[in-house]
């Protein structure tokens, strides 16, 4: 067991950073550098935690870095943190996303307030990933709304107001169900034990509840997470939001916050309501498959790059959901890995799209042609990200997708097989988009755009590196994830489908 102080620092550091950034807002650059330094430290610490975490060596998937303090008994409010193989890489991803989002940020995006919101968002997201208490998770899950809202509303594109509203209302309504579910579960537990009101995960996970109740609660939880992920058909907020948000915002939203949804689905919806799974699996799996195919289909026709990524994310999230609900250790592990990989990949996408938008003033596909001519490096970088996204073996995306599909095929053959069609589809829309944007003869403005600058290349280095490394040698990551997933799935196993 390691001390929970690491996690405490991880949560608090961005807050401090944000504070300092705001205090130094008069000198713009200073606040920006403060933020960058914070992000760097954060990333470093996150990696340290990832390295220190060694439960997996004993094949033990339980938590580490744990501690619990009750903050308010009447509210059942507690500070309860811990990290296991599943949350571990979400933590790393959080830090990484912040780091990249900051480096990728441009002029106006360096304002103290912007970086401040970004840091806040990081802190909250991180906290919800490490919370080991359902209520705590929910609270931070909700907290993330505020910074995201302001980031979109203040720095977004022309439609930002609408987008921000839609995002907020959608998610807010979704989490309404979650809150009711959580409270209900908490009180069921309290009435059974007669003890104090608590929402500790471990306590609730062992609350015996009837089949019917657990189905309803699962639905309540699932709706919230389906909106956040987003899972078809709860996705319609995401295209407009991703499109309107500033690059940093899009990255945070799609690469990170979406993962809150799938993480919650795995940890809470699946982890807490085993009884509901036999009934719910076919439904959610079907939604996931529809999401994969539908997302890809729309992505073929969508007119701008950001929406393209949004819809491809819908498809990718479909894969993640598939793995999570597959009820197989292999599939679920793949899903967790894909959560991380998709984060990295989307990051890459939005960064490059950001660069293009900055140069060309537009991310409409029709405005762009033959960029590979003037900007070969950018094209190459995009290609790498794209190939990873369409699951080219040897790159990160493939490993996770394959695990998901193999796992799902083992438990739900048909869903697995149909989902595999998504692999074709992904190639279709991505290559089609690539051809329209980068191939062909560049004329006029397009011919004049400068290639990726050195700084921009460096920003993308971690992305590309992770894509390659995790494609070729994912073992260290998988070794840490698997035992924890194993624990979760086998907690579920008696009623769910075992591996």
């Amino acid at each position: 067991m390691h001390s929970s102080i690491y996690l405490g620092v991880l949560i608090v550091m961005p807050l401090v950073g944000a504070l300092v950034a705001i205090l130094t807002r008069k000198q713009e650059n200073i606040s920006y550098y403060v933020a960058v330094v914070t992000a760097t430290l954060e990333l470093a610490l996150a990696i340290v935690v990832a390295v220190l975490y060694n439960n997996h060596l004993a094949g033990d998937g339980t938590y580490d870095f744990m501690s619990r303090h009750v903050l308010s008994a009447p509210l059942g409010l507690a500070y309860d943190v811990g990290v296991d193989g599943i949350s571990l890489f979400m933590v790393v991803l959080t830090a990484l996303v912040l780091f990249v989002a900051l480096l990728g940020a441009r002029e106006r995006r360096r304002e103290a307030s912007f970086v401040g919101w970004l840091l806040l968002l990081t802190s909250f997201t991180l906290a919800s990933f490490v919370s080991h208490d359902v209520l705590e998770f929910f609270i931070f899950f909700e907290f993330t709304l505020v910074p995201s809202y302001f980031i979109i509303a203040n720095w977004g594109g022309a439609q930002r107001a609408r987008a921000a509203l839609k995002f907020f209302i959608y998610t807010f309504s979704g989490s309404a169900f979650l809150l009711v579910g959580i409270l209900y579960l908490g009180f069921v537990h309290q009435h059974q034990t007669g003890g104090a009101l608590t929402f500790a995960y471990s306590a609730l996970a062992n609350t015996p509840i009837s089949h019917g109740v657990s189905v309803w609660l699962f639905i309540a939880f699932a709706i919230a997470f389906a909106v956040k992920s987003p899972i078809w058909p709860f996705h319609t907020w995401s295209p407009v939001t991703y499109a309107e948000a500033p690059t940093g915002g899009s990255i945070e939203l799609s690469a990170l916050l979406a993962k809150l949804g799938s993480y919650g689905l795995l940890r809470f919806a699946v982890g807490l309501f085993p009884l509901a799974l036999p009934d719910m699996r076919p439904i959610v799996l079907t939604l996931a498959v529809i999401g994969i195919l539908y997302g890809s289909l729309v992505a073929c026709a969508t007119p701008d790059l950001k929406r393209l990524v949004a819809y491809s994310s819908v498809a990718q999230m479909g894969f993640i959901t598939l793995g999570i609900m597959s009820g197989s250790v292999i599939g679920a592990t793949g899903a967790v890995l894909l959560m991380f990989n998709h984060g990295v990949i989307t990051m890459g996408f939005f960064l490059i799209i950001g660069f293009i938008e900055q140069r060309r003033g537009s991310y409409q596909i029709k405005d762009l042609t033959g960029l590979q001519g003037p900007a070969p490096v950018m094209a190459a970088l995009f290609t790498v990200v794209m190939m990873a996204s369409l699951g080219l073996p040897g790159l990160s995306g493939f490993v996770s997708e394959f695990l998901i599909l193999v796992g799902t095929f083992g438990t739900h053959a048909w869903w697995g097989a149909i989902a595999a069609i998504g692999v074709i589809a992904a190639a279709a829309y991505l290559l089609w988009a690539y051809q329209r944007v980068f191939h062909g003869k560049a004329t006029g403005v397009n011919a004049a755009i400068p290639d990726a600058s050195t700084k921009e290349r460096w920003v993308l280095v971690p992305v590309v590196a992770l894509i390659l490394v995790l494609g070729v040698f994912p073992k260290p990551v998988l070794d840490r994830i698997t035992p924890s997933v194993d624990v979760l799935i086998h907690h579920v196993a008696p009623t769910g489908v075992s591996k």
Partner: protein
């Protein structure tokens, strides 16, 4: 002369319990006398000072009362007409704070509007005294009197502004409907009296706990009418129709008073009557509240969507808020009472601060209340606009603000009492409400017409606003203390 009447034994009086009421009454009388004897008008600074002192004093008493209650437990006095328990103490404190904040706002407003004299203060003190009576009353008659004192003061305050025809229109509407509601309420008192043989809450609950009412018709009728009376005061749909008009018509600081002090008083009394007196009849009045809550939440939230006038918008918003406060009442449990108390306690300062800003934006003549007057406010005056944004988010129940926990507690209580569906409906109404709160907040940050008139922020009002924001944010990050406090308060509930 009372002492002279030897035949009657004067009931013992616990002065600590009555101190707050006396303070307010005394202060208002003092001001009255002053304005009578002083040739020229009483200096408004003096009036404000006295009122502020009185309210601060009341808050201090509340602290002593708390100490007393936590040591000696709850007690009643003056022939069980008045109760001194944790619940009352919290209410007293809240009213004191609310009056203090309102007075500060009103001070600057009066200066701006060139309103001399202590009239506002006298009436505000009196109304607050009425609210105090409702909080502390343990007898339906006393509650009724408190209600009337509170209302009569407000009728006048609403019509206070002579320069807007809307002001006296509001006053008349409020008075007519208020009178109607009072009649219904007192009729309910009469029927309850007929059904239980007493108007004293303790006696009523004792009676109901001792006897099984085989033919509860009369009791039901009484309870129902009382409920309607309260429903009117807290503006629950369909008894809400007065509030948008009156909120708009009244001078803005008065609107603040109505949205805060009245709610504290009304909810305290409502909880006392329904939980401590008619607690045995839970199953009877729950369905009524169930419907009222759904209507109140949904109507409040949705009609606010289509408002252009900020005061009306906030009126509907406060209707929606009332729906949430009623959730705790519906629960009918100590947790529910605590939750409602938490809600009211935190809502009061927030809503006063909100109306303080509305007062400022309203400008001389208190007339600029179109939402367009708020375009880009936060761009022009980041602090003022930011404050308003925070206050709106708080009322929305956005995370990081105390509003989040306020909603959280009432929902928790509701679900604890088995009202999952009700909680869900309420929450979804909050999602609707989120739409107009956020749209409002966005208007503040609209970057067209950044060139607007800068609004001067007097320091008293500024302080009040700051206070409201601090409450909203501080306890949004650290809700523990209040939660514990209200919980203890309801543990020290009588009986």
């Amino acid at each position: 002369m009372i002492a002279a009447a030897s035949s009657v034994t004067i009931p013992s009086i616990h002065y600590l319990a009555l101190l707050p009421v006396f303070t307010f009454f005394g202060a208002s009388l003092l001001l009255l006398v002053l304005s009578a004897v002083v040739a020229d008008k009483v200096r408004i600074n003096l009036a404000t000072a006295i009122t502020a002192l009185a309210s601060i004093a009341v808050m201090v008493y509340a602290i002593f009362q708390w100490a007393y209650v936590s040591n000696h437990g709850a007690t009643t006095t003056v022939a069980h007409a008045i109760v001194l328990d944790g619940f009352a103490v919290v209410g007293t404190f809240a009213i004191g704070a609310a009056l203090l904040m309102s007075t500060l706002v009103a001070h600057d407003w009066a200066k701006r509007e060139r309103i001399a004299g202590a009239d506002f203060h006298i009436l505000a003190l009196a109304s607050s005294m009425g609210a105090l009576l409702m909080v502390q009353a343990n007898d339906l008659i006393v509650i009724f009197l408190g209600l009337e004192i509170l209302s009569i003061g407000l009728y006048v305050l609403v019509g206070f502004d002579r320069h807007r025809s809307t002001s006296d229109e509001g006053a008349l509407k409020y008075f007519l409907l208020g009178g109607f509601a009072s009649a219904i309420f007192i009729y309910g008192v009469a029927l309850t009296y007929g059904a239980t043989g007493s108007t004293n809450l303790s006696s009523i609950s004792y009676f109901l706990s001792q006897n099984v009412v085989l033919h509860p018709g009369l009791l039901y009728a009484g309870g129902g009418l009382l409920l309607i009376g309260f429903a009117f005061k807290v503006a629950a749909v369909p008894f809400h129709a007065w509030s948008p008009d009156v909120y708009e018509g009244a001078p803005t600081p008065v609107t603040g008073v109505m949205a805060s002090i009245v709610k504290v008083g009304a909810f305290a009394a409502l909880l006392r009557v329904l939980i401590s007196a008619l607690g045995t009849q839970l199953d009877t009045w729950r369905p009524i509240l169930f419907v009222l809550i759904i209507l109140t939440c949904v109507v409040g939230a949705s009609v606010a969507l289509v408002q252009r006038n900020v005061k009306r918008l906030l009126a509907y918003s406060s209707i929606n808020q009332a729906g949430f406060m009623l959730l705790g009442v519906w629960a009918g449990t100590p947790r529910g009472a605590a939750a409602t108390l938490f809600y009211v306690l935190t809502y009061a300062p927030v809503v006063i601060a909100t109306f303080a800003i509305v007062t400022l934006v309203g400008g001389k003549g208190d007339e600029h209340h179109s939402i367009d007057h708020y375009r880009g406010l936060a761009r022009r005056q980041p602090w003022l606009g930011g404050a308003l944004a925070v206050l709106l988010l708080t009322q929305l129940g956005a995370p990081l603000t105390v509003g989040f926990y306020a909603k959280f507690t009432v929902l928790a209580a509701t679900i604890d009492a088995g009202g999952g569906a009700l909680a869900l409906v309420a929450l979804l109404s909050a999602a609707i409400a989120a739409y107009f709160y956020l749209r409002f907040a966005l208007t503040l940050y609209a970057d067209d017409d950044v060139e607007g008139t800068r609004i001067h922020v007097p320091w008293l009002t500024g302080g009040t606003i700051a206070l409201g924001v601090i409450v909203a944010v501080l306890f949004g990050l650290w809700p523990g203390p209040i939660a514990t406090w209200v919980q203890h308060a309801t543990l020290l509930f009588l009986p």
